[in-house]
């Protein structure tokens, strides 16, 4: 009984760890640029496919299978640079537009990236096989959990702490928070917003692509994974509160664990439950459950 419960919870926390990365990318972009980036799910999918290719290249060129996590992370981070291209090439033209148009531009990205992924990797699911089981299984309170899942949870926690450190302890973090708070004032005080926006959007993209790369050993990459994940990430940020990092963290836990519990208890409820919570939160506390702080 406990073993079963722990299994369900660990599955939920693993999912939450990935969701947090994507949602954090969504939050940092929304917090600073006030753009709700529908394409963050597509970046996640892009990271997943790149991760598969990077690992495949690594192992076929004699890399030891035990170190597959290295190309995974490098690939996931490297493809995040696409964010820089998107920001400089498209988004920077619409900062002074109505948010409807900004939203639609990110929807255009969703459409383009979905087909770019299909063109590059085909329509059949791709995966890294059972590579991640090479790290073995750990026993947690009587349940068996792949060690890889624990590594991802740990990595996600480390990244959460890293973002917290970046935002509160570094000069760049102070500029980000200032820009999120009052763009004109930050600009008047000498912060170059073009530079800030480019960096922030790239950071947001990298969080998404890294999330995709990290999830992929435990599952398979499919071309629809992006548009499916965005609605979950959307639920996370609404529950947590738009623009709040702490909200992304707690929201991811709520969504990840609830979904996992719902699947094991009453599968029909799975996402229905999440959306009903989203609606309740939007109506009751539009700023989200934890949405006091910004950025």
């Amino acid at each position: 009984m406990t073993a079963n419960l722990v299994n369900v919870l660990m599955g939920g926390v693993f999912h939450a760890a990935i969701l947090f990365l994507v949602a954090a990318g969504l939050q940092v972009v929304f917090g600073v640029q006030k753009i709700f980036n529908l394409a963050c799910g597509s970046f996640y999918a892009l990271g997943a496919y790149t991760g598969v290719s990077a690992v495949g290249y690594f192992t076929s060129h004699g890399g030891p299978p035990a170190l597959f996590i290295l190309p995974l992370i490098v690939g996931g981070l490297a493809v995040g640079l696409v964010g820089l291209v998107v920001e400089r090439g498209l988004l920077r033209f619409v900062y002074d537009r109505d948010e409807t148009f900004q939203l639609l531009l990110t929807f255009a990205l969703v459409l383009m990236l979905e087909d770019l992924i299909r063109m590059t990797w085909g329509t059949a699911p791709v995966s890294t096989g059972g590579l991640y089981l090479g790290y073995g299984q750990a026993r947690v309170l009587g349940a068996t959990v792949p060690v890889y899942n624990l590594i991802v949870i740990g990595a996600s926690l480390a990244i959460a702490l890293g973002i917290g450190w970046l935002l509160t302890r570094t000069a760049f973090g102070r500029i980000i928070r200032a820009a999120a708070d009052n763009r004109e004032m930050a600009e008047a005080l000498g912060a170059d917003m073009r530079w800030v926006y480019a960096r922030v959007f790239t950071l947001g993209t990298m969080l998404g692509t890294l999330g995709g790369a990290l999830v992929i050993p435990a599952t398979a990459a499919m071309s629809e994974m992006g548009i499916e994940l965005i609605v979950e990430a959307f639920a996370v940020v609404v529950i947590g509160g738009l623009g709040s990092m702490r909200g992304a963290f707690l929201g991811a836990l709520v969504v990840g664990v609830l979904r996992s519990v719902a699947i094991s208890v009453y599968p029909e409820l799975e996402m229905l439950l999440i959306y009903l919570i989203v609606i309740a939160v939007l109506l009751w506390r539009p700023r989200g459950l934890f949405g006091a702080a910004t950025a």
Binding site: F36, L104, L105, A108, E114, D115, F234, P286
Partner: protein, 311 residues
Amino acid sequence: MRTTPLVLGVVSAAILVLPLMVPPYYVTLMLPFMAYGVVLLGFNLLFGYTGLVSFGHALFISIGAYTGAVLTTKLGVRHMELILPAAALAAALAAAPVGALCVRYVKIYFGMLTLAFGMVFYTFLLKFYRLTGGDEGMRMLRPSLFGREWAGFSKTAYLVGPYYYFSLAVLLLATLVMWRIVGSPFGLCLKTIRDNPLKAESLGVSVPRYRWYAFMISAVYAAVGGALLAPPTGNVDPTLAYWTHSGNVVFMVLLGGFASFFGPLLGAFAFIFLQDTVMSVFPYWRLIFGAILAFIVIVAPGGLMGLFARR
């Protein structure tokens, strides 16, 4: 503007004689155009005239489509003249509470709330297999039109003949009604709300109530359009309610031009025929369409109508 009646007359005449002039394939492409035309007329009352962008309009399209499927397959109702009012009624019943909750918010929060409601219905359709047929959806049997079964007609003959003219009649009626709505004092109130909600309020217009009315009307239009969408394909499935479908609806309106009355109709037409053309030469139509959408957003936010008007 003086040329508008002339253009409309020519276009109407062309649509009327189209089934006699062009191959059936292109005539059947006109069917989704007319269905989406009805959807978009209603959608633009909310977007172009009231200033609210719904990202969950697929909810009402799918309510309309599923109403038709349930009526024809489970309840034995085959008259399209009954299906359309039933779809409208179902959408109005759903839109009354959903709209009342959504119109309390504007901008991004309105969009998110509508998206969430759409996804609630999507997951319901997907997961409650016994009621909805799950991911396979349901069949939509051929409805009778103008009181006749059209049993002797092949599927194509049925679609390019009676169904084409039935859809056209619905679209014309929907256009006329919408034309009256936007020109009425009610329509002017909506525009005032879009441009300056505070001023509207101080003039005695109840802003939430008018937004709610607009929401209901647009939902009814979406359901009627959704019900028209189902018979040509012969089945309905949950992707009708998926959020990307809602995104495509916004796309169509923007493509045609949200600032003009006929822009959405042009957008639906351009979207359907462009999609068909692109898909016939290049399987990755989303790539092209994403690029088109990005171009419209950045360079030509007025859509096709905006491009014409500038000349």
